[in-house]
Symmetry: C2
Subunit: 739 residues, 2 copies
Amino acid sequence: MNTIPASSGSFTLPGEAGFEQLTLRLAKKWGADTIRDSDGTQLSPEITQSGYAIYSTVCLVRSVQPWARKNRDKLQQNFLMSRPVVATKSTLTIPLLDGYYTEQFAVNFKDSPKQWWQVFDRTTGGEIAKTKWAVDPKKGAVTITGATPGHRYTVNFLAFRIWEEISMYNHLTNNWGDREHLAAVDPMQPETQKVILDFLAGWLRDHAATRVVRFTSMFYNFSWFWGADHKRLRDIYSDWGDYAMTVSPRALRLFNKKYGYALTSEDFVNGGLYNSTHNAPSRRYRDYMDFIHGFVIEFGRKCIDLVHARKKLAYVFYDDHWIGVEPNSPRFREFGFDGLIKCVFNAFEARLCAHSRGVSTKELRLHPYLFPTGLKGEPTFQAGGGGNPTLDAKNFWIDARRGIVRAPIDRIGLGGYLSLVEAWPDFQDYIEQVANEFRLLKSFHKGDAPYVAPFKVAVLTAWGDLRAWTCSGHFMQNVELYHVLEALAGLPLDVQFISLDDIAKNGIPRGVRTIINCGRAGTAWSGGSHWADPRVEAAITRFVQRGGGFIGIAEPSALPQPGQNFRLARVLGLDRDNGERLANGRYKYDAPAAETSATHFITTELANPTAPDFGPKEIDNIYVLGPATQVLAERSGESSPRLATHAFSKGRAVYMSGFKFTYENTRMLHRALFWAATREAAWGRWHSENPKTEAAYFPKRKKLVVINNAGTPQQTRITLADGKTARDVSLDAHGIAIL
Amino acid sequence: MNTIPASSGSFTLPGEAGFEQLTLRLAKKWGADTIRDSDGTQLSPEITQSGYAIYSTVCLVRSVQPWARKNRDKLQQNFLMSRPVVATKSTLTIPLLDGYYTEQFAVNFKDSPKQWWQVFDRTTGGEIAKTKWAVDPKKGAVTITGATPGHRYTVNFLAFRIWEEISMYNHLTNNWGDREHLAAVDPMQPETQKVILDFLAGWLRDHAATRVVRFTSMFYNFSWFWGADHKRLRDIYSDWGDYAMTVSPRALRLFNKKYGYALTSEDFVNGGLYNSTHNAPSRRYRDYMDFIHGFVIEFGRKCIDLVHARKKLAYVFYDDHWIGVEPNSPRFREFGFDGLIKCVFNAFEARLCAHSRGVSTKELRLHPYLFPTGLKGEPTFQAGGGGNPTLDAKNFWIDARRGIVRAPIDRIGLGGYLSLVEAWPDFQDYIEQVANEFRLLKSFHKGDAPYVAPFKVAVLTAWGDLRAWTCSGHFMQNVELYHVLEALAGLPLDVQFISLDDIAKNGIPRGVRTIINCGRAGTAWSGGSHWADPRVEAAITRFVQRGGGFIGIAEPSALPQPGQNFRLARVLGLDRDNGERLANGRYKYDAPAAETSATHFITTELANPTAPDFGPKEIDNIYVLGPATQVLAERSGESSPRLATHAFSKGRAVYMSGFKFTYENTRMLHRALFWAATREAAWGRWHSENPKTEAAYFPKRKKLVVINNAGTPQQTRITLADGKTARDVSLDAHGIAIL
């Protein structure tokens, strides 16, 4: 049952000059059709002329260093907020870069500070008049006159970035010593655009053997502001989705011209919070993202056209300098990319890559990377150093595989130093197996799609589809929605992502039967200030009244209002007390009974039905509104529901005080979605009973794929189309079965 | 050392007809000078003519039932908010009293609903036009037309209270069956005032033997709205300080006339939160309190004048119908009361009573009350039922005594059924001892005051002195400030209570060296919206810059601002992340070291210096701002400080993530106050080393009182005026020593 046929293609192998024999042997073993270079490796003619497609990486903004060195005023820049300083007398000097890493930043004194900078009295919240402060470029400081003692002041200022962050990270991590600090040029400058296009034309000439040009990525990196003290506070600010590092006076001027209004430094600085993806975005910032996206498409298209003119393919890496690329945007297709490459740790990242529209090829870069040390510091390929790359590969693969089973991916590949695998023959064998498994799964998706539940599920956030299948970068333990996404990524469901704005304007999309809203109050995931639009509450309330389902996790629909905190409290049958209800009584609900929870549709498969494991940081102080709310689990020693259901008019709501990705909780969430949708009757079709396993049925091919998500052998029973007929299946550890 | 001399006086004994011999015997044994009646007991002529001062209770608003029965439109009333109802179509009917206890409330349809009521669309937050809703008195409902499906609606309406709450509580608790439901009349009505004054005149004539008239209390009870379902939600709303139950159309008209603007129902309803004392009060509500306080003084004065005209004394009970009395108000003296009586469970309540200005006599009603069942349901005087009234009395006494040692109290007494103590001779003996102990302590206070630290301490809240030494009624476990008050109540400190308004207007009071701000975000105790005034932040920042101390507990100075949550984050050297800083790095502070914390001035006496016990609900997600913040204790498994210090300019700040009243924590708080004040050098004068004991030195009498706050014998060492010379003292369980 577990014999996967050998096959070839759809695999990108990292070649390495000096290891030509190994490169070609493994290319054959793994069925590679493409050989790539990596950061730090070269391909020799023996490899590039071996008949494999050649794939070469290029980072344009980092590639024109002579120009960057000569044109320090054309480097990329961003707004920074100085550290707040408290006045002791009426004159106050604020050292601008205090606390920041001065090898990354240099204050931009050149573009008129009085025009672009702002100084704030953060105690009153008011801006200080331009006449009341002066810039001292020598000291790198701003001096304020007429300050009020006891008030705190900050300066928003422009800074050039004199060291590009990915280069900086690799340089410092690997102790590159004297190697040049690469800087990123800003393609918003017309002269720089010309330099970049010239460079690219030359590079394409020099890479005659290259079939695929992989851009790393376009022009602007995600935001990453480093502190001076790398031990105590290296990352002052780091957000995978923030457009902070695209700003320049030129960008602001062009924005004003196009959108008819001016942005200020504070639109970016936001009191030091910047525009973190985790916080609900403002309308102004969304406009700015739009503007940059438009620019990146416009100039990106010129670069891609050059590639296509050379009859090469253009792929883009969905990490690093991906800001403005936005593979989930409807405009993404305008780039004309041929491929999108995503490095994946988790199933949701496979879905993220698959979700993009507008490229023909979607490729996953699997972990572990072929580096001596893994991204989390583990000794992956260090023999005798405790590394076990084969086991790592198995564990990464079962996570990514959950997503690949659900959504079509075209290619997989590895990155790094191929020479490292020479000492690990079992790793070589396992990758061969992974490649064959992948190609088999890919073949099932061709002209077919796996069975999904007979209703649609929508994940509701402030971002909607633009941040589908991610929050902001890789998995973060303390963001509940990541756990939910990882659970959903492997479930047989048709999932879509909608924003509160979408609902306000267009209502609930047709076919959606259950909506999930998951996150902490104020975050973009819960929705934050976007809940201020009453149309959203009204539309969802109507939706549930008419029979829809709503699952709220953590602080769903949270927005402080007089006497209420969750907008959808009436729908959920409960609300959170943020501390303002000390004088308000709480309805005493029936304590969860083990027997009731053990037999409830949602919790029946939990080992401990009244005590699900939602991790260490679930929400407390939840109170129920009345007898219609059924509490299935509550906090230990506290009358605060952890899991509750509520029938509301013709619909149903489910509340969970948190969520943690485990196979048991994934099963529970799956059940909760069916229960909220009032579709329990449809439960169990093409279903694997053991929660550590999952089943996917490809109806046209009549193939049932059963995967074991555990590191131990598993037994399971599969129920077929009628939800009743069953077949028993045995699976190896990390194994797969095709029925 | 523990022999307290026998003495007499200053003791109020509850007499009981039918137990004359017991009454007179115990009056002698306990040194009583006054005999009282209680709710449910009578005094016989044998008692009233025994030569003791007689003390009689009267509740005026409950005392004129014939008038109340005939004038249902002159009963007291209040605004209620209906339960929110979600519209499913454009017409919507809201049953007004749904969920409320209809034996307490009757809707006031008589005073024009269109004038006084308000209907809200809580989804938009807007008020519904008066033309869009109609009242149906028969159904007790409001019908809204033109409602938006999916929106939720509420009605603010006036309701008469047809059953006075204290009577209702006693009636239902004691199963009084058919006994009349007493209603409270509203003395805001001129005709009712006349009826009350007539009643009081007659009552005074009938109580010729009475020396002290004890009012229970003035006219308006604290707010207490009962639900229909007594098992699930008896107390829909209950707040010891809310003026909700004083409202009437007449009051609103008079207010408008006097203050020049109109209040609306929503000023009282506040989305169902009402004006809980725990939440920061609005300016409008404070005006209304002022207005009612003025009225209660004005009419109260007329009643008291009648008492004085009869050559009797007028005392007032500081509970039940105390709204508008405000014993902490500077206007309280205008009543002309002779005495104030407070029932005490805790030390802070003794301080609360002592704190009032404007009465010559302050009397404490000690626990246990002589009832078969205690206020918390315990079987106090039930022989064979597990009761141990003597031990209860000891435990209540050591708590109250901590406050009595610190601040002068004039009298103590008991309440209830004296006959119950007949079976408990050890209780009789112990009360004799308590009475003697009390009289000795009282004698020390005469013309003297106990030694306090050489600097003043201020507790900062939104209420300031008006809610000094209480939050809202008796102790609540989940309000940190209660724990702090209970700790402070027994410490040798000069404590004052200031409001944020006070600081905005007048700065920090002279002599104050350390300010405590303790509470959850948004509460009146932390300060909530009152922190919006930048003058407060500026004044406290200046104060600390110049050498002052600041102790912040839980969420001090919390007010969401761009990029900051604690107004005084810079002073504290830390702030709270409310979930908006997922992308902002946190400074990695040095983890608390056992050795450092064990030797730090603040934590040196803690059994576990890096793990203080702050109860189950301390604040998490605290991050420090830089190296100047020293973390002495952090949350287990989380980099979130629990106890931290911060040097700020010439001053110092201390942060605690919570507080729980224990003797060990009380000692730590005491030390923190000295440390924050930079007055460690003054530590240890007239000080008892064992934290379970406390010392008070009366300098003029040259008496040192040492009390044992524990139920076990204790050894301690007392350091004298120089903080060095020491004497060893042994104390009995619950004991006292006079040196």
